[in-house]
Symmetry: C2
Subunit: 761 residues, 2 copies
Amino acid sequence: MVKTIQKGLLATTAFVGLSAALGASAETLDDVMARRGLTQQDLVAAAKTYTPTGGRDEFIVFSSGGQSGQIMVYGVPSMRILKYVSVFTPEPWQGYGFDEESKAILEAGKVDGRELHWGDTHHPAITETNGDLDGEYLFINDKSAPRVGVISLHDFETQQIVVNPILQSEHGGTFVTPNSEYVIEAAQYPGVLGRGYAPLSQFNEKFRGAVTYWKFDREAGRIDPSKSFSLELPPYSQDLSDAGKLVSDGWSFTNSFCAERYVGGIESGRPPFEAGCSQNDTDYLHIINWRKAEEVYKAGKVTMINDHPVITMETAIAEGLVHLVAEPKSPHGVDVSPDGKFIVVGGKLDTQASVYSFEKIQKAIEEKKFSGVDPYGIPVIAMEDALHTQVPLGLGPLHNQFDSKPCVVYTSLYVDSQVAKWDYCEGKVLDKISIHYNIGHLVAMEGESVNPAGKYLISLNKLAIDRFNPVGPLHPQNHQLIDISGDKMELLYDMPVPLGEPHYATAIAAEKLKPLVRYKYGTNSRTGERHEGAVRPGQERIERDGTNVKVYMTAIRSHFTPEIVEVNEGDTVEFIITNSERAEDETHGFSVSTYDVNLSLEPGKTATAKIVADKPGAFSFYCTEFCSALHLEMTGYLMVKPKGYVEEEGAVSEGQAYSKEDYDRQTANNVATQEVIDSVVVYITERNYADFPEVVALVEDATDQLNFAADAKAKAEAAAASEDWQNATLWAGQWWQYQVKAADIGLRAKTFLDEHGAVKK
Amino acid sequence: MVKTIQKGLLATTAFVGLSAALGASAETLDDVMARRGLTQQDLVAAAKTYTPTGGRDEFIVFSSGGQSGQIMVYGVPSMRILKYVSVFTPEPWQGYGFDEESKAILEAGKVDGRELHWGDTHHPAITETNGDLDGEYLFINDKSAPRVGVISLHDFETQQIVVNPILQSEHGGTFVTPNSEYVIEAAQYPGVLGRGYAPLSQFNEKFRGAVTYWKFDREAGRIDPSKSFSLELPPYSQDLSDAGKLVSDGWSFTNSFCAERYVGGIESGRPPFEAGCSQNDTDYLHIINWRKAEEVYKAGKVTMINDHPVITMETAIAEGLVHLVAEPKSPHGVDVSPDGKFIVVGGKLDTQASVYSFEKIQKAIEEKKFSGVDPYGIPVIAMEDALHTQVPLGLGPLHNQFDSKPCVVYTSLYVDSQVAKWDYCEGKVLDKISIHYNIGHLVAMEGESVNPAGKYLISLNKLAIDRFNPVGPLHPQNHQLIDISGDKMELLYDMPVPLGEPHYATAIAAEKLKPLVRYKYGTNSRTGERHEGAVRPGQERIERDGTNVKVYMTAIRSHFTPEIVEVNEGDTVEFIITNSERAEDETHGFSVSTYDVNLSLEPGKTATAKIVADKPGAFSFYCTEFCSALHLEMTGYLMVKPKGYVEEEGAVSEGQAYSKEDYDRQTANNVATQEVIDSVVVYITERNYADFPEVVALVEDATDQLNFAADAKAKAEAAAASEDWQNATLWAGQWWQYQVKAADIGLRAKTFLDEHGAVKK
C-alpha cells in the first residue's frame, strides 16, 4: 500500500498535462471588477502595483521599524515587505541576540553597563558616494538610548552598534555627508553632557545639546569612534539634520524645537512641556561648518568628556563653526535640495515652508551680518538675510523630499493630512493630495540624494483608523504609495505596517543593491572574517576543557554531525556550527529544546550556540528551518548526565532490525530511483540550461547531492560485503535520501526551464 | 514671517479645488500593462487581489511566525500583513516583555526555572463552536520548548503561556476539539517523561512520547492546567494531530514518524537519524478516544508526573483508549474531513495520500479485529481494515485542507512543489498547480472546520530562491495565494514573508472577528481586569515607600502627568500609566532614555514601566508613538539624584519670559482659531454625520479636546487676572494646542464625510 518515490517520479512526469493550471480565468475582468467594486481608476492603480510571481520591484525602501528596533525592507511599487532586519532588538529568526557572534554586537551597545533589549529606531540613511546613494551600508539611530547601528547591505545584517558617549537623548540621526565621511547624530532633549546630573533649576546653565559626527571607515564597513567628535550646542531640543551637498558640501544643518528652553511640571501647576515648548513663533536652525569643525577637532581644540572629544560652544563660536537662523515654528524636517543650494524647513505649527538660500547664508557669515547672538553667544543671522522664499502650504508642514523634476519638492502636512507638491525655486504650490491620516515623514525615491529618481512617493501615516480590517486597539500604521510621475499625484496603494511605527524611510534603486546569496565557507557574518571555529565535513569533533565543551559541528540537508553530544550537568557547551551547503536559500537553524537558543545558519555561515547545561536530561536539538523533506528528522540529542550519575554499560538499542531482504529491497528501489533521476538529467542537459545561472546553481547543488549519494552507496556496499545488514540497509536508505534531494532540486530546475522558455539543443 | 495656523486653516479651505488629486491617470491601462509587462491574466489576478484605500479583506489569516515566536496576521485576498502579535518573544512596539503586566505572562512561560526569550511557533488554532471557527481565541505552540500560548482575539494580545509539565520536545500542537474543550499538544522527539534523564542505550525502555489535552476554560479565556491531562505513548516521534468532528467527535488522531525508534550517531559511524527514521515503509497513526480518556482521567486512573496526571500506556491499553494503524511513509498532515467521516494522511516519502474511514476504524475496534500489537502492546488495526482509498498524488504529500465543495481536498506536495486538488470520496485527482518552491503546509479558508469557506488557498512555501528582489543570504519565505473558486486552481499572488518561517496558518472569515478598538478605562490588558494602579486625570500622584517609588501617571495628547519625577540613585521606580484617551488609534508609548523600557498604551490601557534607577543623571522620558503635532514635546524628566548629592535651593529656571503683550497676541490668535474651528463644526453638523459611526467617534474626540481647551482657557484667564503673564501666556498656548488637536480631528471628520458621500441636511 506504499508507493515509493521512484514510481511517483514517473507518475508525475506522466501527469504534466494537468499541471497547466494557469488557464483562462472563469471570471472575466468585468465580473471581477463588479464583484469587488473596483473602478477603472482602481484597476490602473492595481496594474501599476501588482507584481506577478517572479517579478521584481524597481526600488527598495529601508524603513525605520520604530519601536520594534528593526529595519523594515520593502519593494516599490509592489509594497511587499521583503525582510525585517533586527538592529537593536534581539530577534530569534535571524539568531540575532541568540548566537554568540551577534551577542557581541548587542554587548557593544550597552549603555553605562546596562543591557538594552530594544531600540526606538528613527532615521535610516544609506551610504553615499558623491551625494548619490551607493547601497553599501545603512545606518539607523535609536532614540531610546543614544546609539547608532550599522547594517551591511552585502548581507542585510547588523554589523555594529556604537553608543554616544555624551548624550542622554537623541533623535536627529542618522544623516550622512556626501561621501559618507561622517554619520550625523544630533541630541534631542537637553541633558548634562556625559550623562551627568544637575538639578533642573540649573537647566539653562548646565544642560546642553550637541551634535556628534561619527567617522565612517568605508573599508572596514564600521564607524570608528576613535576618529569621531561632537560639538556642544545650547539646550534647545535639537531635531533633524541634513548634510550639505555640492555647493554646500562641508556644512550641515540641524534644526530645533523648544528654543524657549521651557521646563514643564504640570504636577506642580506649571503648564506642560507642550505649551511652553511651542510658545515662540520661531526656533533655531543650526548651521554648522563640519569640515572646519573637523580641522578644529584634529587640531586638538577639544574638551574630553567620557574620553570623547567635544568642541565647546566657546571654541565653536571663536572658530566660527556654528551660526543660527530663526525658523518657524516647532520645525521637524530640514532638507537640502539636490543641487545643495537651498535648505527647506517645515514648521509643524506654521502653515508655510521656509526655503533658505545657502548663498545668502554664506554671504551673511562672510560679511558677519548678524542680527545678534543667542543667549549663549552664537551669532544669529536675520531670517530676511537667509530666506529665499516662504510658501503657504497648509497645516503642519513636517518633512520634505525632492523630485527628479527641477525645483519640485513634496512636503508632508501633518494636521491637514495632505502632501503638497510645490516649486521651491518659484515658491508656488503645484498640487495637493489627501492621505489617511496624519502623515509624518514621506519618502521619495532617492529623494534626499543629488539625483532624485522621482516616480514614487510614500506617505508614512501615523494612523490607520478606517483603512484596514480591525486588529484590536493597537492599529497598524499606513504607508501610502503615490505616483508622482505625472503632473498630478495619484494614490496607488495602502500598505499596513504590521510591526512598529516607522518614523522615516529611505529608498534606493533596486539595481544598486548587490547582496550576497551565500557566505564564503566558514564566515563569521558579524565580523566578515573566517570563523575560527569553522570546520569542513570530516573535521567535526567534540573538545572538552574542564567543564567547557566545544562541539565543532556541520549542518547539511538533513543531519548535523555530530548527532549525539554527551555532557555533564553544569558544563558550558558551545555548538559552533557551519552550514556546509552551497545552495542558495538552503538555510538551517539550530535549537536545543528548552535551552533558549536559536541559530540561523545561511549557506557558508558559522555561528555559535552557547548554553549552560544546568538541568540534567535528554534534550533534543533540531533544525529550526524547514530545509528538506527530511527536515523533521534533522535532529540529535544533547545528553546532560545528572551529577553523580553512573553510566551503565550498553550500546544504543535498535528499535528495528534489518535483514538482507530489506537491503535488497532498498537497493532495488534506489536503482529504480536513479533511472528516474537520469531521465530528469537528460531532460535538463538536452536543453540550454547553461544559459540560466539559477539552473546552473541548481545543477551544482544536485551534483553535490548525487556525490553524497555515491558516498552513502559505498558505505552500504561495504557493510553488505561484511554481511552487516543493519548498517547496509540504513546506509542504502541514506543513499536514497540523497537521491530524493537530488530529485527535488532536479524538479525545481526542470520547472524553471519550462517556465523560462528554455529550448531543446 | 510666521503664519499661524488659523490663517492656514482658512487658506486650506480655499485650496480645496487643488485637492481633487484622484483625477484621470496620465498613463492608460494599456500603457501601464506594456510598461510593466503584464499579461491579461496578470491583470485579472491584480483585480482579484488589489484592495483600494479603505477596502477590507474577506478573510483574515493567522499564520505562525515560525522562529520569530510571533503570530503574523494578514488579509485575503490583499495579502497585506496587518499585524505581528508577539507570543513567546519579547517585542518592544507592543511593550510585550517590557511592561510588568506582560512580563508576568512570559514569567509563567519559564521552563524548569529558565527564562526563555523566543519560541519556535508552529501551529495556530482558532477556538471552535460546534466545529465552526468562532474567532474568540487563538492558540499556538512552541517547538523549542514545549509550551502553548493563548491569544485573545478581542484585543489581539497574548494572555497566557502554559508549560508542558512532562515533555522535552513537542511539535503537534495546537489543535482544538469541536467546542474547544481541549487544546491538543503532541510530543515530537521522545524523551524521559518529566524531562528526566536516561541513557540512549535505554531508549526503547525509558524514552516515551505523549499527547497532552489542555483544558480550555472559555469563560476565563485561559487554559486550566489543573483540569488538563496527558496520555503516555511509545517513543515514536509523534507529529501533527487533528480532532474528530461530528461523527468522529470525541476522538483525536496523531500521526508519527520514526516508528523505527532509530537513534542516530553519525559521529560514531552510524547512519544519521534521517536514514534510520525513514527506513520503514510505514509509521503509525495514533487513534485516541479522548472523551473516554477524559473519563479515565476524571476517575483518577492516572500517574502523576511533575504534578501532572498522565494516563500510562498500560492503562490506556486496558481501557481501550488508543489504537494504531499503519500509515505511509514519514507522514506529516493528518486531517479530518468536514463531515468527520474521513482522515486524510499524506506521507512525505510516499507518493499517495491515504484516506482512512472512521466508520471502518470504529468497526475494527468494536470487533477487536486487529492485525497484532506494537512493541508496547497497543492494538494495531490492519491498513486494509481502515483504509477508504489511496490516491497517487505526486512526490511528498504533506498536508491537506478542505474545500467548501463536497469531497474536495487540497494536498501540498513538497518535493513536486505542487498542490493537488482531488476528490477523497471517489479517489481521483482533479487538478494540479505548480508553486515556487517547496510547499510545506497549505491553508484553505476555514479549511479545517466543519464548514470550509472555499474561495482561496494559500501555499506556505519554504523557499523564495528566484521570486523576489534579493535581500542577502537569509531569504524570505513565500506565501502564494491561489484562487480555488473555479474548476482549475489559479495562482494570484506571491507574498514574501519578511520575518520568520511560518509553519502553518489558519484563516477565518473577517466578519467573525469583532475586536475592541479601545479598552475600558484603566484595564490591565493581560488580565482583562481593572488595573489596581489606574488613575483618572486629577488623581495622578507619586508615592514613596522606602526606596520604592510609584508614579501613578496619565498620558494624553500631548503630555504626561506628572512631568518631573525626582528619585534617588538606587530607587526602584514604577511608572503606572493610564492612557486617558477615548479616541480610536490614539496610542501613546513611554520610554525613559537609556533605561531599557517601552510601553504601548492604547486608549484606556494601564501598564507599568519598572526600572531600577541605578545610574544618576537627568533622563528624559517621552512618548514613543507619534500621537499629535506636539508628539516630540510629550516629554518629561526622571531626575536621579546621585548618592550623597545635596540639592541647592532654586526654582526651575525660565528660559523665556512672557509679557502682557505676548498674552494678548496668543489670545487673539486663539479667538481667530476658534472661528475657523467653528466653521468646520458648522460644515460637519450641517451634514448627516450621525450616520457615520467613525465620524461620531471623531466628533466625540474633538469635543473632548475643546473641553480641555476651555479648561486651559480658564487657567490662562485666572493667571491673567492676577497679572501673572508668564503662566497666562503659557496656558493660553496650551489652550491653543487643544484647539489644534480639535482642528486636526475636525479635518479628519470633514475628509471622511467628503469621501463617503455625506449629504447636507
